[in-house]
């Protein structure tokens, strides 16, 4: 009896690790492959996907810097994406709280509008937006892209956050109100600290979603002042000359810092997680 349960525990553990290993491998595989391929030549990339590069020279990395102002675009990306994350998280933290706690007449309309926007084709948005932005004088500015990205992040963050607020018990708020706390005090001192894991999560998601956005970054800018990393990547793809190795070099250079940012943000999630985790 005892033996069989031991065996089942061991096999469950093995299954668990195989599961983790498999999905880590298929997840890391592509980026590792891109890293290896970034040292290959055009001919090597287009004739063998699995071979090792003939030599590990850094020419492709040099080429990646040569074609596009990649460092500048990277900085732009950091500013634009960073600000949009802050804006989205702040606004959604407020809006979603109301939606999760109160019933009012326009609530359904708000939810419907936000849902509808998730399905709007980018091409249909770009035309009116192009005209509006020129009128407002924010075409080809970082501010313009920040506005678009912040708004684009609203729907998804909104859904996640509304659902997260619902997990927070209302008993705390009620006792706060009985103690005479104001709405703002309750929100600031009681709700927000509890909502931190949710907020960090939407920050993460918003960061990932906007970091790779290409279409609006191209349509709503015309110069280097507001262009972002995804546009730099396009410099390596020509009509009759796709420089895949430089493309992969650029991908590696832009993805690595992103992963660091990601790890730092995730540490935040983890800290809040320790509260609820169990040893199993």
């Amino acid at each position: 009896m005892k033996q069989t349960s031991q065996i089942s525990i061991i096999s469950a553990k093995t299954a668990k690790y195989i599961f983790m290993l498999f999905f880590s491998l298929i997840a890391i595989g592509p980026i590792v492959w891109a890293f290896i391929s970034s040292f290959k030549t055009y001919a090597e990339i287009n004739s063998s996907a699995l071979s090792w590069p003939s030599s590990f020279n850094l020419d492709n990395y040099k080429a990646a810097f040569m074609y596009a102002p990649i460092a500048k675009y990277f900085l732009n990306s950091v500013i634009i994406v960073g600000t949009s994350v802050l804006v989205t998280v702040t606004l959604v933290a407020m809006c979603a709280y109301i939606i999760s706690r109160f019933n009012f007449k326009l609530k359904t309309l708000i939810i419907l509008l936000i849902s509808a926007s998730l399905m709007l084709p980018a091409q249909a948005i770009s035309q009116p937006l192009f005209a509006i932005f020129q009128k407002l004088g924010i075409f080809d500015t970082k501010l313009g892209l920040i506005i678009v990205y912040s708004a684009m992040g609203i729907p998804m963050s909104f859904f996640v956050m509304t659902s997260y607020y619902k997990t927070i018990s209302m008993a705390l708020e009620e006792s706060a109100y009985i103690d005479g706390a104001s709405f703002l005090q309750t929100f600031w001192h009681i709700i927000l600290p509890l909502a931190k894991p949710g907020l960090v999560t939407i920050a993460l998601l918003q960061f990932i979603n906007t970091w790779n956005e290409f279409y609006f970054a191209l349509m709503l800018t015309s110069g280097d002042t507001a262009r972002t990393v995804p546009i730099a990547l396009n410099y390596y793809m020509g009509t009759f000359a796709n420089n895949y190795s430089a493309l992969f070099a650029a991908v590696v250079m832009t993805v690595l810092p992103t992963i660091f940012v990601f790890i730092i943000l995730q540490r935040q999630v983890m800290e809040s997680l320790t509260a609820g985790a169990v040893k199993g």
């Binding site: 030549t41 055009y42 001919a43 287009n46 004739s47 074609y67 596009a68 009012f104 007449k105 326009l106 770009s126 035309q127 009116p128 192009f130 005209a131 509006i132 020129q134 009128k135 407002l136 075409f139 191209l218 349509m219 015309s222 110069g223 546009i231 396009n234 410099y235 390596y236 793809m237 020509g238 009509t239 009759f240 000359a241 796709n242 420089n243 895949y244 430089a246």
Partner: protein, 443 residues
């Protein structure tokens, strides 16, 4: 009472912000600088010849040199760079529908000329051509007609596009085949040679389907364009709508056979680059393409050393050659001063010297017919010299789908090719799909 007020406030704020959006929508012209402090004319240009584009070096040379000329010394360029023609065309279409075009509008294909002309956002260049007969004489009638919409010339063609067959001399030798001087006399002879190559374990042809199916398009255009008068006329028609002609159907049938018998396993669903690499690596014997590919033969990154010397050139069977005028660059400026400066640049771009320069630097074929080719070219680039020579031997010329077909029909061609290749649809059905697709533009 209070509640009602709040609701009304919310509703009106919502409507207000929506209205703001609509009002802003109706307008849309921005103030552009006419000239900077030093009194120079500023021309806005969107340049897609950047990054790994084949003509990036040539265009940066051109802009620099222009500013050294009499007409260009007062001109300052204000560049926007958009890498890849795909992204460039998207942006230009957005500008055509809701913005202002740059002062000089490079032509990235995609039927941009017609769209821009119909929108009224590009200048009619006819008077400038009439004013300067010497300039106008550089272009033949076909090239200008190709850039004319409703009787007005809108585009200045800067080059001609031609294509033919590159073959690997070494592989031909290995199979004991003697390559023809100019071309195989007939397609039957061509396919016989394919069989011989195949018998020696050599894959005869390079083909593809992805993106736009460029290589397959060149084969198919050749099959139609060399098929008698009817076929040739069809392949020289702008925006064809009936694909169920005997010639097109016959070509589709041949294409199906070529996919099944004569090409690499990755041709179906494949993109251009891996196919080109097959040719560079000596894995396929014949490869259709134009002169812009020649610099690649010497590129150590792409082709093995000494590959340049292994390449031969021939026309398509029956002495056929694809030749189309290119869609020309346009002028989007609205002020007289700027239009003139832009036209001056286009004149500079098409000057005989720069046409030769473009040929040397990028392989772009001169749009003008009787330019004097410097002898140095024969020495420095014998293949290119051979291209210039062999094109005079073409007995029939015809277009190709990217120049003449509707955009969506080119796309249908590319997505239906795999179905044809695997025999999931018959050649006749394939042509029906193309006809249906072309009809969508008439609705």
């Amino acid at each position: 009472m209070k509640r009602k007020f709040v609701k009304r406030l919310m509703a009106s704020a919502l409507i207000g912000s929506m209205a703001l959006g609509l009002v802003a929508c109706s307008g849309g012209d921005n103030d552009k600088e006419t000239s900077d402090d030093s009194g120079k004319i500023v021309l806005n240009v969107i340049n897609y010849h950047v990054g790994t584009d084949y003509a990036a070096d040539y265009y940066s040379y051109l802009f620099e040199e222009f500013q050294k000329t009499e007409a260009g010394k007062n001109v300052e360029f204000n560049f926007e760079e958009i890498p890849t023609t795909d992204a460039y065309n998207q942006k230009i279409k957005l500008l055509i529908s809701s913005g202002d075009l740059p002062d000089i509008v490079f032509n990235g294909g995609n039927n941009i000329t017609e769209l821009a002309a119909k929108s009224g956002k590009v200048a009619d260049l006819t008077p400038y051509f009439d004013e300067d007969p010497e300039w106008k004489a550089l272009f033949d009638d076909t090239s200008l007609e190709f850039n004319t919409v409703d009787g007005k010339i809108y585009g200045v063609p800067v080059s001609k596009e031609i294509s033919y067959i590159y073959y690997n001399k070494e592989l031909f030798e290995k199979a004991g085949i003697e390559a023809p001087e100019t071309a195989f006399a007939s397609w039957d002879e061509f396919f016989e040679v394919c069989d011989q190559l195949k018998a020696k374990g050599i894959t005869p042809l390079g083909m593809d389907t992805a993106d736009s199916g460029w290589l397959t398009n060149l084969w198919m255009s050749a099959l139609i364009g060399t098929n008698g008068e009817a076929g040739n006329e069809w392949m020289n028609t702008m925006y064809p709508t009936d694909f169920n002609t005997p010639e097109v159907e016959a070509a589709a049938e041949k294409i199906q056979t070529m996919f099944k018998e004569y090409t690499t396993a990755d041709a179906v669903g494949g993109k251009y680059d891996p196919m080109a690499t097959h040719f560079f690596n000596g894995e396929v014997a014949m490869f259709p393409n134009g002169p812009w590919m020649i610099p690649d033969f010497q590129e150590p990154e792409k082709a093995p050393e000494g590959f340049y010397d292994k390449v031969g050139i021939m026309l398509m069977p029956g002495n056929g050659m694809e030749m189309v005028p290119t869609p020309g660059d346009m002028v989007g400026a609205t002020e007289e001063e700027k239009i003139e400066a832009a036209v001056a640049f286009l004149k500079f771009e098409t000057s005989p010297e720069n046409q030769i320069k473009a040929l040397e630097m990028t392989g772009l074929q001169p749009v003008s017919n009787d330019l004097e080719i410097p002898d140095t070219l024969t020495e420095s680039d014998p293949l290119m010299a051979q291209v210039l020579e062999i094109q005079n031997k073409a007995e029939v010329t015809y277009g190709q789908n990217q120049a003449y077909w509707y955009q969506n029909t080119i796309d249908t061609f590319s997505t239906e090719l795999p179905e044809l290749a695997y025999g999931n649809i018959t050649p006749k059905e394939f042509c029906e799909k193309l006809t249906e697709s072309a009809a969508k533009n008439q609705e």
